[in-house]
């Protein structure tokens, strides 16, 4: 039997040259048994959504430290929806004020992770959320 793997896209939208955090999270998710596609820096929302389609990912994780999250995160969400990927588990992280986190979570982001988050917490959140979704999918079929 082939075990189904969680496929995650880790994306860096916009003009933000800092990707150590994204790379650390990508490595941690890999170490939790996920298949992680890292996009590299400076991606437009459209590129991120297109990669998500081609890679058929279950999860899209965005990292941003430039302050443009309220502009770019919703645009990624919209680009995903336009391509029929409204159902992916959408998460994000970076230097994001608490109020903005709450607003993004109201706007379709499943969860935002701020500075100081334990990396394992991110991995466990994704694993739990995906097993819940897959169990539901299995029950629906």
């Amino acid at each position: 039997m082939v075990e189904r793997k969680i496929r995650v896209l880790v994306g860096k939208p916009g003009l933000d040259g800092h990707d150590r955090g994204a790379k650390i999270v990508a490595s941690v998710l890999r170490d939790h048994g996920m298949e992680v596609i890292y996009t590299g820096l400076h991606k437009t929302p459209e590129m991120i959504a297109e990669i998500a389609v081609q890679e058929d990912v279950d999860v899209v994780g965005l990292s941003i430290l430039s302050g443009a999250h309220m502009e770019l995160f919703p645009r990624v969400r919209k680009a995903l929806e336009e391509r029929g990927l409204g159902q992916v588990l959408l998460v994000g992280g970076g230097i994001i004020p608490k109020d903005d986190m709450r607003e993004l979570e109201r706007e379709g982001f499943a969860k935002l992770f701020g500075p100081g988050t334990k990396t394992d917490d991110i991995a466990n959140y994704i694993t739990d959320e995906m097993s819940r979704r897959w169990a539901k999918e299995g029950a629906d079929v």
Partner: protein, 329 residues
């Protein structure tokens, strides 16, 4: 309509979103995949499949990106499958090949998919061939598969291609390394990348000599050695020309024969995989094996016992029916 039928119909109608989903089915060994493949299989065969392999860091992804650019200039569409290893410890994988191909992301004529090797014996080769069949059936003119050439599983993947490129570069071991690693045997075209780095000319000469020693007068195809710098694009035209030449060499009967052989190999792999699953998938045989070993039997004895039991159940003098649709649910 069943989910398999409707996804297959989408693909045949030219809906690109069906491609990634069918590839996911193939790599998860989803039970819906065989029925979907049956519906699209008639459209498989139009694409030319190029396999690209070589040691880590020689510039394979950069080369594939350049090849895709040149194919696009020739108005051909391109489907790319980039295979990276899974961790044998956690089963996870970090797939980063497409970073080198980012200029192609929004080109509607290019599709790029990353695949993790998932460490299974032969399973990777099967999923990769399935993924190529899906891209082929969708109608991509060129299908390119890239793997890090380090093990048997990766060889199996590229060897399913029509033309196999082995990429090397100066400073990553001399031609003797290439000879002992078995890379020369699998190559239809040898590419020396990073041709602007010192030592490249020497590597080209060494490889030409190695090819000559191995094949002189014994084969109809002499593996060309092509130098290029994928980073700058210099010389990559020569790689495309070498692929074209090999394609011309294989035209007609040779191609049909080669592809038929590869399909037979695919069926044999599938049967081995199923057999192995049938035997080891439940605990029965494993327990017996454990017990026999504990009682002092040698591994050879135990294997012989297992084989006797299996073949008594399986082997029948009559091969299966030759009706192509028989046995399909």
């Amino acid at each position: 309509m069943t989910p398999a039928a409707s996804l297959a119909e989408k693909l045949l109608a030219g809906e690109r979103s069906a491609v990634p989903r069918l590839i996911s089915w193939a790599e998860n060994a989803d039970e819906r995949f065989p029925a979907a493949l049956a519906r699209i299989f008639g459209r498989v065969g139009g694409a030319w499949r190029t396999g690209v392999t070589g040691p880590p860091g020689v510039g394979k992804s950069t080369l594939v990106n350049e090849l895709a650019r040149l194919f696009r200039e020739r108005e051909r569409t391109v489907g790319i499958l980039a295979v990276d290893p899974s961790s044998p410890f956690t089963g996870g994988a970090l797939l980063g090949d497409r970073i080198r191909m980012e200029e192609r992301t929004l080109d509607a004529g290019v599709f790029i998919r990353s695949m993790a090797s998932r460490g299974s014996h032969g399973g990777l080769a099967l999923a990769a061939v399935d993924a190529c069949d899906v891209m082929d059936a969708f109608g991509f003119d060129e299908v390119v598969v890239e793997t890090v050439g380090v093990g048997q599983a990766e060889y199996d993947v590229v060897s399913a291609a029509d033309t196999v490129l082995v990429v090397l570069c100066p400073g990553a071991g001399d031609s003797i390394q290439a000879m002992k690693a078995g890379l020369l045997e699998v190559a239809d075209v040898l590419v020396v990348n990073k041709s602007d780095v010192s030592g490249a000319d020497r590597l080209v000469t060494d490889l030409e000599e190695a090819v000559h020693i191995r094949t002189a007068g014994r084969t109809e195809w002499t593996t060309p050695v092509v130098a290029c710098s994928a980073g700058t694009g210099k010389g990559v035209e020569g790689v495309v020309e070498a692929i074209e030449t090999h394609r011309g060499f294989l035209a007609g009967d040779r191609k049909e024969r080669l592809r038929a052989e590869k399909r037979i190999l695919q069926v044999r792999r599938k049967v081995s995989e199923r057999l192995s699953e049938a035997v080891w998938g439940s605990l029965g045989y494993l327990r017996t094996v454990e017990t026999l070993l504990r009682n002092g039997a040698t591994p050879y004895d135990v294997a012989a016992r297992v084989m006797t039991t299996i073949s008594a159940k399986l082997v029948d003098e009559n091969p299966p029916s030759t009706d192509p649709g028989a046995g399909r649910p």
